[in-house]
Symmetry: C2
Subunit: 605 residues, 2 copies
């Protein structure tokens, strides 16, 4: 039943050699990896305007130079990550680059920051998409946690089905969104040129009394939230078809171009149509309404915008498992993140991300507004570290023509560092928790790594000298009565050892006498030892007795306790048996050098 | 840690022979077993008045004859149960009496009805006590589910501590309540005789237009809710000090007298002071206010009334585990209800009752009003069956002077049967679910009994002919690499058998070659078989291989799979290991005749 449901949801298991088919073409990779970055277009310009409007509508013209500054930063980031892709063709996320050049701890800061950030991405983007839906259908508002959770479930199942399959499905909404925004820009430019819009833009270059550099920087850093998600491509190089680095680099450039045009287009239109941010309507919605009126095209644009906000979560689902895999390979995360599932994806990473983001949604009751600045700084810290790592690399290796590359990374690093500082200063109350969770995550990484190192030390073997040695053995069989189960267990024990002891734990004299008599009558060729339990516990006297066995036969190194266990025909039959065997197992298992053999006895009725 | 907390809450474990000290004196037994019955005084009269008031205040005088009718029924029930106690000195609940005389199925109807009823008792009485508290402190109203759950937790812990200890604690509130009601009655009679109360009772015997027999019967059946809990003593005979039957009979008579005086006293005072039921104040509260004014005594009476409502739950906690024990002894409930816990109580029954009633509270959100009729009919069905059983017994055995006893039981049976029918007719919408859950419970009893019978058939052994037989044995060791763990496991296997196979499941050619080479180098004296897994599953190829082993060596009957398992030093280390061994165990365990030996390997760091 469970297997069938799994097959239905996830699909048939795939063979390992099918992995090559699971690689992404550029077109599909762009869809999967860019949804996070592209979705930022839906709110990037608005973030800038929201800061500027605090100085009055006259200040809105500043959005133009600020948007171009963001565009410049985007260009630097794209060029910088393009360099990283070629330098790290096996996947060069911030974790790899920082670790490789700046040491493990710095790498872990970048990696940990990104891991947490992906969880936030899923929570924030599904909440945003839920808000878009509940704005349209207010009756759904009270069910918004459920809606967000259903979205997470959908993306999870899609990703468990495998990367190509999810890419095939997700391609359509992503390209529809790109199409919609370009349609909006072209329509907007046409309206503006024909002068049909009848609006007056704010005067460019007008003096704004009281404007400060601090405010402008804040507007700039807010606008930079449009750049989150740019790093996804460089993390995901292993998912590309060969030649992977070249395909990844081209995809990155393509993404940069589309993102840049869309972002600056929206910013320019917002200025041209004199649009100011409103509490109850997004900037994109205002532009769309101005350009096309509130008709079919307007609703189409709104719908695909909601869809892309939801799909931003998918980028995290593509990137998180790969990053977790890399951390697990370096022994900073549990092994399980290295296991490929039935459909060749890193299912454990997918499920882990899904559960944590769902918990975050539940804990915040779907109200994730406060998490956005945290989410933004969580991206810019690894951006900065990654580029600092690249700087170090250029200086250290100095390949031919390294200097321009170094300059690009330096400018990029300084800009992203500045943005980090601006975030810290201007939004400290919302981002201070990063100082809490980053140390915790890194501490966990180090502890895990330590455990694996200790483990390897303990398990290491010298194949030339350390061979297995045969020793003596004694088998202990707890018996509750004389039944077919005990007969079966003794029969099994006799095939393994000649030193067998049956132990009966009795509660009162009468039943002990009865048992001894019946055992003598049966005479199975095994001596019976009777223990008396005054506290009605079977486990404790038995455990004490086993201690005695160990003490008596110092030469016998292996003590095996044989525990019969019923295999019932129906699950509920298990409730009808005292699970003494499980209890005994758990209790004895905590002891050194007692082996436990479970002897199944299958009930036929 | 857990053990310490348990010790603190429950107390030290007790030896089996201490059971004799756990028997109850009459004084304590009365406290533990009568709280349910006595608490009915708090609402019994009110239930009658609530029906009568529908015909106007003039009809209230009928409460007097009706109360005397209830008193008569109480006397019959007490006499009837007294007879049962002497007839069944080992405990004669409705289940035993009905089963013994009317057959197993009828017994199960009585037993099942009572079991469910005890769960309802706990839910209803804790809710009622919670309502009493939140009436006094309305700010607590939104936390009423939590309050009710805390009450259940308190009673559960008290009962887990053992029966004498809970009796010692519970004695005070029960006797305080008895004291409070007698104080009220004496004060009331004094006020009435001195004429200080200045109230006019309704005219006794006044004609009430439109009054019907149906309405009067309904009022009578509502008043009979005061009789719930009377059966507790006869169920609990084994808890009494020797001579148990005589002590139990005296306790029962004592309880009947106290209950009767209190009930008729309240009814008479209510009539004498012309009290009509009000929506927002109980009848007892009105009487207390009239007699003593709203001073200290009034609040004392209100407080102990709330307390006794809560303690009614305790009667169920005393009776349920005993009834479950009896049903389990007859194989109609799981064995676990027969196990005595650390403090010699039937802990599983206590915990089971606690969990189910807590679930009921949560499901109903603490609003259990609707359950009261169900709860009442659930008591009167076993009342009827128990007395019918006694009737049958008298007719069959015909001991000397049996006829008066037969008459008592017959009158009792007919009355309780009538009450059942009145409940069914007048409150069908609230009690119909009994036709749903009773068949379900009885079906479950029968299924459980069937399973135990099947089990006994399968396990039965002929001690003269069926002895254990020694057979061949082969050991299979899954290996993941060459480590100290595998060395330890092979060493153990060699001490048990000469026929050992190590199996390695590889995912690609390279790692398989490497493993084969290293194994040859190590040469542990065990042959290695390599399997290739195309689906990255370790369990499936291994399981298929074991099938082959079974097929190849038909003469070898015992196949043992040895699974090494880490015992980690810290619990969270377990998360860092793929739990392949657990998965393997679970998967292989579902197969016939594969034994699984778990070989612990204790990590030192």
């Amino acid at each position: 039943m469970v297997t069938k449901l799994k097959r239905f949801l996830i699909g048939r298991p795939m063979k390992s050699h099918e992995l090559a088919n699971e690689k992404l073409s550029k077109l599909k990779a762009l869809a999967v990896l860019s949804s996070d970055a592209l979705s930022s277009v839906a709110y990037g310009t608005e973030q800038i305007l929201l800061v500027l409007i605090t100085m009055g509508a006259v200040a809105l013209w500043y959005s133009i130079p600020i948007s171009f500054a963001v565009l410049g930063l985007l260009a630097i980031l794209i060029l910088s990550y393009r360099q990283t892709i070629y330098a790290y063709p096996m996947g060069g996320g911030a974790y790899i680059v920082a670790k490789d050049n700046l040491g493990t701890t710095v790498g872990l800061v970048a990696g940990g920051s990104l891991l947490v950030d992906y969880i936030l991405t899923v929570a924030v983007s599904t909440s945003a998409a839920t808000d878009a839906i509940t704005s349209a259908f207010p009756v759904l508002h009270e069910h918004r946690v459920i809606i967000a959770l259903l979205m997470i479930l959908t993306v999870t199942i899609l990703n468990l089905r495998g990367i190509t399959e999810s890419a095939t499905i997700l391609m359509y909404p992503v390209y529809l969104f790109v199409f919609a925004v370009f349609l909006l820009i072209i329509g907007g430019v046409y309206q503006w040129m024909t002068g049909n819009a009848h609006v007056q833009p704010p005067i460019y270059g007008a003096a704004v009394p009281g404007i400060t550099l601090f405010l402008l920087l804040r507007a700039f850093s807010s606008g930079c939230s449009a750049l989150t998600g740019v790093e996804a491509v460089s993390n995901a190089i292993p998912n590309f078809r060969e030649p992977a680095p070249r395909n990844a680099a081209r995809t990155l450039i393509m993404m940069g171009l589309i993102l840049g045009v869309m972002f600056i287009g929206i910013s320019l239109l917002a200025y041209a149509f004199g649009i100011a941010p409103k509490a109850d309507e997004t900037v994109v919605s205002q532009i769309a309404a101005t350009v096309f009126g509130r008709g079919v095209i307007y609703y189409f644009i709104q719908a695909v915008t909601a869809l892309i906000l939801f799909l931003a979560a998918n980028t995290a689902f593509a990137a998180f498992p790969l990053l977790a895999f890399m951390l697990a390979k370096d022994r900073f995360l549990p092994n399980m993140f290295m296991v490929r599932g039935d459909r060749l994806g890193f299912s454990n990473g997918i499920i882990f991300l899904s559960i944590l983001s769902a918990l975050l949604i539940i804990a915040s009751q779907g109200d994730t507004e406060n998490l956005i600045p945290l989410y933004a700084i969580g991206v810019f810290i690894p951006f900065t570290l990654s580029q600092a790592g690249m700087m170090k690399r250029w200086i250290t290796k100095r390949p031919a023509g390294w200097f321009p590359s170094f300059v690009i990374n330096t400018i990029g690093m300084l800009t992203t560092l500045t943005i980090c500082l601006i975030f810290l200063i201007t939004k400290f109350s919302q981002v201070w928790t990063i100082f809490l969770f980053l140390p915790v995550v890194i501490f966990a990484f180090k502890k895990i790594s330590e455990h694996y190192r200790d483990l390897a030390d303990q398990l290491r073997i010298d194949v030339t000298t350390e061979k297995p040695e045969k020793k003596g053995s004694v088998i202990v069989i707890p018996v509750a009565g004389i039944t077919q189960v005990i007969r079966n267990t003794i029969s099994y024990a006799q095939s393994l050892s000649d030193d067998i002891v049956a132990v009966y734990v009795g509660f009162d004299d009468e039943e002990i006498k009865k048992m001894e008599k019946k055992w003598a009558e049966w005479d199975p060729g095994v001596r019976l030892i009777v223990l008396r339990s005054r506290y009605r516990s079977i486990v404790r006297p038995l455990s004490k007795f086993i201690d005695t066995v160990e003490w008596k036969k110092a030469e016998t190194d292996h003590v095996t306790v044989m525990i019969p266990q019923f295999i019932t025909k129906r699950w509920w039959h298990n409730l009808l048996h005292n699970q003494t065997s499980l209890l005994l197992r758990a209790y004895l298992f905590a002891r050194q050098d007692v082996k436990i053999a479970t002897v199944p006895y299958r009930l036929k009725k």
